[in-house]
Amino acid sequence: MKIVILGCGRVGGTLATQLDEAGHTVSVIDKSSDSFQRLNPKFKGDRIVGNGVDEEVLRRAGLEDADAFAAVTNGDNRNIMASQIAKEIFHTQKVICRIYDPLREQTYRELGLETICPTQVITNMVSNALIGTRPATTPNKN
């Protein structure tokens, strides 16, 4: 598969390295070239420096003919906007968007984005480790 990853932080860097090792064609975008130090030195994919909400940058990363896109920068809004560009403009088949803020995550899930909320995931895991069960999700009034 051809995969574009936005954000080369801990998650993005690890994800890019793993997918590359698994034989996928990966390109990774980050606004700072320093971040690429997180990649395994043997990483074969493209490293693109640029702003992930800029269509041109995404094009340079090969999003036009990519099968999948993951937005994992530390900015919720940047991930949200980049994911919507991938879906609406590049018509990428699989788009995954990380959103830390649970309320924002809910909004965009309802709007049709495939989202992952680390806050919720970790909360559930910690809670599970502490008391052995996952607490019932309290429906938020918002």
Binding site: D76, M81, I85, E88, L103, R104, E110
Partner: protein, 219 residues
């Protein structure tokens, strides 16, 4: 009208003051403590501390009864999220976003933002119109009508020089609104003869723009 403004930079501040002066109930949202305090000294109750991207802040701001939400932060992605959240979560009927990158216009429209305003684009066209040698400048976009206002300076080499307006094939969707000749405005009629250095103001839609440029030899 109740208007919520997201982002208390210069644009947000002056906009809020203007809207208040116009008699609208207006609330400005600013997330940064230092900036908020400065704004509060001047705007008092009309500014609230909080991140307009967060649903919690918007709830507190009473977004449910807002008629308009305007997002004017310096980041396009923040402005997008503010407007989408307002629409999706709080059913705000009209959302307006400031665009820093004019290329995002189409995307924002696709994503349901009602109005986009691009200062960068306006500044570029204003400067462009003041540069010597520019023969075709888009001055303004009338979005709802799907029209643009273009300024054309007729070159002495232009194929239309010496022709009457009714002899010139203009794109069907275009309309010459005004000719300025020797600093005097003329409302053009069919028999006006185009001269070199005439300054023409035309209304044209996107499809007709290219044809209009070709007609006047400014392409």
């Amino acid at each position: 009208m109740y208007i919520i403004v997201g982002g208390g930079g210069d644009v947000g501040y002056y906009l809020t003051r203007y809207l208040l002066q116009q008699g609208h109930e207006t609330l400005l949202l600013e997330k940064e403590t230092g900036r908020f305090q400065t704004l509060e000294e001047e705007l008092g109750q009309s500014v609230l501390r909080g991140d307009a991207c967060e649903a919690r802040t918007m709830e507190e701001a009473g977004a449910r009864r807002a008629d308009v939400v305007i997002a004017v932060t310096g980041e396009d992605e923040d402005n997008l999220v503010i407007c989408q959240t307002a629409k999706k979560r709080f059913n705000v009927s009209r959302t307006i976003a400031r665009l820093n990158n004019p290329k995002h216009e189409e995307l924002f429209q696709k994503l349901g933002i009602d109005v986009t305003v691009s200062p960068t684009k306006s500044i570029l066209s204003l400067i462009e119109s003041e540069l010597p040698g520019q023969r075709f400048v888009l001055l303004m976009n009338l979005k709802r009508a799907g029209l643009e206002i273009a300024q054309i300076t007729v070159s002495s080499l232009s194929p239309v020089v010496g022709k009457a307006l009714n002899q010139i094939n203009l794109p069907r969707s275009s309309n010459l609104a005004l000719v300025i000749r020797d600093d005097k405005p003329i409302v053009p009629s069919g028999d006006i003869v185009i001269q070199a250095n005439d300054e023409i103001y035309a209304l044209v839609n996107r499809e007709g723009e290219e044809e209009l440029r070709n007609t006047f030899g400014t392409a």
